[in-house]
């Protein structure tokens, strides 16, 4: 973490009306070496993404630090479902309807396990649907989706071969991954993808960040003992 070049970091836009959940998701994402911007509503998210016609000198957006959205290459949008005004689903739809934004992967979070809701979101193009409270193991699933946008923008090669379920079988364990942590499949998938990608210098930084976040003195390998309630 602490990389100066924003090119090598994924930038995530997190949308949630709950201040507690914003803090939580921000910390989770930063632990995964992501740059994070948080906003508290769907409309603010669209403003940040440049979809709504608003004066650039908007002052009522404390979370937005970049004044030129074009430089803020967003690699993933993660949004709460239940929000007053524009729901996460509405936001998802607007993003997918936009020619400039539709390629950004969108993930929905919800505290309610409603199968029809989940289906609807996935059908509308959401990559994942996380039940709250979101955990580190969920956030670890995001990297493959974000890699898609990185590779597309940097190089025009094999974007489709990057992430598929089958890749999870061929695990590369050359990196420091504590064996006690069960949810490492996604990480290993990502590590393997990083090997395939030709953006080598970028990968070194990502690997470092991944290793840093997985080093034993930072994470306690006890996720398996934490029973989900």
């Amino acid at each position: 973490m602490g990389m100066a070049a924003t090119e090598s970091q994924f930038h995530v836009l997190a949308v949630d009306d709950s201040v507690i959940d914003r803090k939580l998701i921000e910390r989770l994402l930063k632990t995964s070496a992501c740059q994070v911007t948080t906003v508290d509503s769907g409309s603010k998210a669209l403003e940040f993404l440049g979809l709504q016609e608003h004066d650039k000198n908007q002052t009522n957006q404390p979370c937005v630090t970049l004044d030129n959205h074009q430089e803020a290459e967003i690699n993933l949008i993660i949004t709460d479902y239940c929000m007053p005004g524009m729901t996460g689903y509405d936001l998802l739809k607007k993003i997918k309807e936009s020619s400039s934004l539709r390629n950004i992967p969108v993930v929905i979070m919800s505290s309610e396990n409603v199968p029809s809701r989940i289906t609807r979101c996935l059908e509308e193009g959401a990559e994942e649907f996380f039940l709250k409270p979101v955990r580190l193991s969920d956030v670890n699933k995001l990297k493959p989706h974000m890699m898609k946008t990185k590779c597309k923008s940097h190089k025009q090669q094999q974007p489709e071969t990057i992430i598929t379920e089958t890749n999870q079988e061929s695990i590369d364990i050359a990196y420091v991954v504590p064996p006690q942590v069960p949810q490492t499949e996604s990480d290993n998938t990502v590590l393997q993808q990083q090997q395939q990608s030709q953006a080598n210098s970028n990968n070194k930084n990502k690997r470092k960040a991944l290793e840093e976040s997985l080093s034993p003195d930072r994470t306690r390998p006890r996720f398996s003992s934490l029973a989900a309630i």
């Binding site: 973490m1 709950s18 201040v19 507690i20 959940d21 803090k23 939580l24 910390r27 989770l28 632990t31 239940c82 505290s111 709250k132 409270p133 955990r135 580190l136 930072r218 994470t219 306690r220 006890r222 996720f223 003992s225 934490l226 029973a227 989900a228 309630i229």
Partner: protein, 151 residues
């Protein structure tokens, strides 16, 4: 020696909070996210939870005090409270929210008021417990010790 005793008290206290259901696994998740670069993460999140909850409990009190109770609004507040208590691992508070939402659906003011009373009690309990926990942490650090990681 004092440090060791404090640490032992801390571990025992934490264990009891989990055992008695005041806290659940999500609280452990918060602790796992705390490290040297974010040493106050848990206290910060819990402080936000305290502020948020007190605001919501006030809003609930006012909403249920109206001559014509807006149950949709009441439900919305309870939904928020359920979400935030779930996010910090305040299990007993979270569990109170479920029957509360049922009472909203039934549009039963009396039942809602009883639920509100219960939630307030549970909230005050967990607030008290967490503050005790944080005090213990501070004492350990002041005595030069490290805060034990509790499973």
């Amino acid at each position: 020696m004092e440090v060791v005793q404090l640490q032992r008290s801390f571990v025992e206290y934490m264990d009891s909070l989990f055992r008695e259901g005041f806290l659940d696994a999500q609280f452990s998740q918060l602790q796992q996210l705390q490290d040297d670069s974010n040493p106050d993460f848990v206290v910060e999140v819990v402080s936000l939870f305290f502020e948020d909850s007190e605001r919501l409990l006030n809003d609930l009190t006012m909403a249920l005090d109206q001559p014509n109770v807006d149950f949709k609004q009441v439900d919305a507040h309870v939904h928020q409270l359920k979400g935030s208590s779930s996010s910090v691992g305040a299990q007993r508070v979270k569990n109170c929210c479920i029957p509360f939402r049922n009472c909203c659906e039934e549009q039963n003011t009396e039942a809602c008021l009883r639920c509100l009373q219960q939630i307030k009690q549970e909230y005050l309990l967990v607030k008290n417990k967490l503050q005790t926990l944080f005090d213990l942490e501070q004492q350990i650090v002041a005595a030069g010790g490290a805060i034990p990681m509790v499973q």
